[in-house]
Amino acid sequence: MKVVVIGNGMVGYKFCEKLIAKSSAEKVEIVVFGEEIRRAYDRVHLSEFFSGKSAEDLSMSSTTWYEENGVKLHLGDPVQSIDRPTKTVHSYKGITENYDVLVLATGSAAFVPPIPGVDKEGVFIYRTIEDLEMMQAYAKKAKKGAVIGGGLLGLEAAKAMLDLGIADTTVIEFAHRLMPRQIDDAGSGILINKLEKLGLKICTNKNTSEILGENAITGMQFTDDTKIDVDMLVISAGIKPRDELAKLCGLEVGHRGGIVVNEKLQTTDHSIYAIGECALYNGMIYGLVAPGYEMAEVVASHLVEENKSFTGFDMSTKLKLIGIDVASFGDPFVASHECRTVVFEDTMKGIYKRINITDDGKYLLGGILIGDAEAYNMLLQTAKNKIVLPPNPEDVILGSRGGESEGGAGVLSLPDEAIVCSCESVTKAGICTAVAEQGCETIDAIKKCTKAGTGCGGCVPMVKDLMVHTMKAQGKYVRNVLCEHFNYSRQELFDLIKMHQLKSFDAVLDKLGKGDGCELCKPPVVSIIASLFNEMILVKGNDTAQDSNDRFLANIQKGGTYSVVPRIPGGEITPDKLIVIGSVAKKYNLYTKITGGQRIDLFGAHLSDLPAIWEELIDAGFESGHAYGKSLRTVKSCVGSTWCRFGLHDSVSFAIRIEERYRGLRSPHKLKGGVSGCIRECAEAQSKDFGIIATEKGWNLYVCGNGGSKPQHALLLATDLDSDTCIKYIDRFLMFYIRTADPLTRTATWLNKMDGGIDYLRNVIVNDSLGINEQLEADMDSFVESYKCEWKEAVENPNIRKRFSHFVNAPEEKDPTVVFEGMRDQKKVKDWK
């Protein structure tokens, strides 16, 4: 059998791949004609061409694939006519091939509305790599851009214009909302808001009447008598199926274009098939890649006498624009009398979610997600597989409130045949089998083995959930390893580093890891080393393994300057020291603010000024406040019994004692404490990692509180302690946390994950159930003894000091790109884009 394929686009290529997989080379001969000069490439990710992907990166196959599989490929040679009676095709370059089966995979072209002036220079379409190359060249001299069309592709083109450096870009949409086929008015409103934040201008209800300019475009005139200046325009107003060849040889085409096909994708001539964007099935053109692949599958199956049919395809989509989640699935608009609609809207956060459910509340019909499309895959599957909804259907968009979290149990409820990756038609069973039987235990392995997640990538989170669940179900321990360089959890590494006394990142990597390390493993490893040995963090080659803030002992700010936060233990400060802070801030032109941690932050310091600033502060008796480290921040205090008429004990003195004890202690995440002089709790101690509240008889100790995005109150660990016992308990608590927590886990989250919770923890800390308390206390004592202010060491060590300059070859010069503006008598950094 000889199969000729016209069109070497995404679907044409996929068809060849599938046909080869299903048949043996002796039986089928494949010839492909492609009009473009390149092998089929990934058009879906075309925009990545602008972020540096080459044509070769986007290619769907290797250079040798066609040859290796015996496919004859004619590139840059469009077929010009089909002679049905003799079953031959003729190409532009004069090649004639006969066929038994002909497959039309000619795709579509951009639809260009007949607006006067569309042929002017500077007007582009967005379909091929050549289009993008031309845009790239033209964009260099363009300042004002516009895109006609506010649909999926138009918005992608608009984002591409921004990426090409055209900051002033307007999207012009004819309808009264964006993405009119996918989302509703309310959703469009939220989306417009978000796009405007990206810097795009959006005009809906705009009809272009003329493109202005002599030879090149200079502006656009609209029917409402307004106009704008534009020097580059992309038209993305829809697609037009390429049915010209089919029409020419007398095949039936739809009146608005498209080659008419039946459920086997046969055209009116049964030896000719049409697949992909050129095919019109049931009055519909499927302008997405997944249905095209399904069509390719149906034809390839049909040719090897498997029985498959095309019965339409779900048009759910997710926009790939960076930073904005937009998805629509199933039927997003069902009229309200046939169903119930649940809408959740948060205009502050820019979130809009709508689901349409059957009248009886049982099934999901479709919906729209904007601002937060995390649930997209799950909802799509719920709708597609007719999974019965929970009793409160709104839970699927709001998350179940109060009770247990859904925690991925969702994926388990899917039937085995649920298509998880629709680009490559991979089912849930396919993924679970790859994990359980083929031993794929990483996303990459699953991608290689099943191809799931290699298309648009939208299903990857779900694939990951399935992988974890399958592994757990097999009784496999899913370990929280740091990254590809270390096959250990943080806790395991802590013990191993201690056992082997490894004091530098390289030593740890050589002994326990592999490769070169990365930003995921370096900070936790050097943090462990610092917790264990308490050496100056910038020595022994560990400096560059520290998180960037630790490396420069300051927090990097917008614009690239740093903040300076001297320690002010317990929030107590003398007038003289306040004056020093004021004069240093004036001298180095720093913005000053009282922080939420009862101290003063000085912002906007140039890297090269840091050592001098700190030198002056240290001379006046200040120390590092470790605002940059995963280490102790502040121990907040209330004024306590020295002044307060209700105070039971001297909370300030106790807070200072504690803050000075733990200053500089490196830990998995930052640590905060608080001491209140009575139950009125003015120091908010119960929101801290450790909080202390005075009682008639002593101190109550609370642990594992947290502010931040998921606030959690601290839990009572022990009551009526004397000061020394209280400190002993905190020593044990902190050291136990440092030994056992995962990286970047605050004490609250650590406790939440701990089997047995606060009772277990109390048993360890108070009753010494693990018999480690002596060790924990000794570790803390040795830390406290070896404490030194790292900023003092840094300014006194010329080698370290030298690193604080912006240019290595012009150390006296500051970064000229740093720009400040004035605001309320101080400065602020210029906003970033």
């Binding site: 960076i322 390289d506 960037s548 420069f552 790109t817």
Partner: protein, 127 residues
């Protein structure tokens, strides 16, 4: 990038001016170049210093490492990671790529190569 196209070798600094497994920023007229010594691999790399994400002059202060063998740098601001070899963004395929520059070391001196494409030798001083 081929040697022939290089029109300028800028003597950037001494090898020991660059921290082990870390980077520094080099000034070249109005350009800022991030220069990295990946000592663990015995390799040198240079890229633009500006992170394309929020246009911050910060990559020289970023942490270097590797992913599946590909050397990379992580921006200190939002941890976008870029290949040191060809500059592409590894963890966000929509992000722009970095310009990269060839580096050579002779007699303890580190040189960064500028071509017509990547350099703007505006004053023609080094040509």
């Amino acid at each position: 990038m081929t040697e022939e196209k290089i029109i300028t070798w800028l003597p950037a600094c001494n090898t020991h001016d660059v921290p082990v497994n870390g980077g520094v920023c080099v000034k070249y007229h109005d350009q800022q170049i991030a220069l990295f010594h990946f000592s663990r691999r015995g390799e040198w790399y240079a890229t633009q210093n500006e992170c394309p994400h929020r246009k911050q002059m910060a990559l020289s202060r970023g942490m270097i490492g590797s992913q599946e063998g590909e050397p990379k740098v992580a921006c200190p601001f939002h941890k976008k990671t870029f290949s040191l070899v060809d500059g592409h963004c590894i963890n966000d395929e929509d992000e722009c790529s970095l310009t990269t520059y060839p580096v050579k070391v002779e007699n303890d001196m580190v040189y960064i190569g500028f071509t017509e494409e990547n350099g703007r030798d505006t004053e023609g001083i080094l040509a």
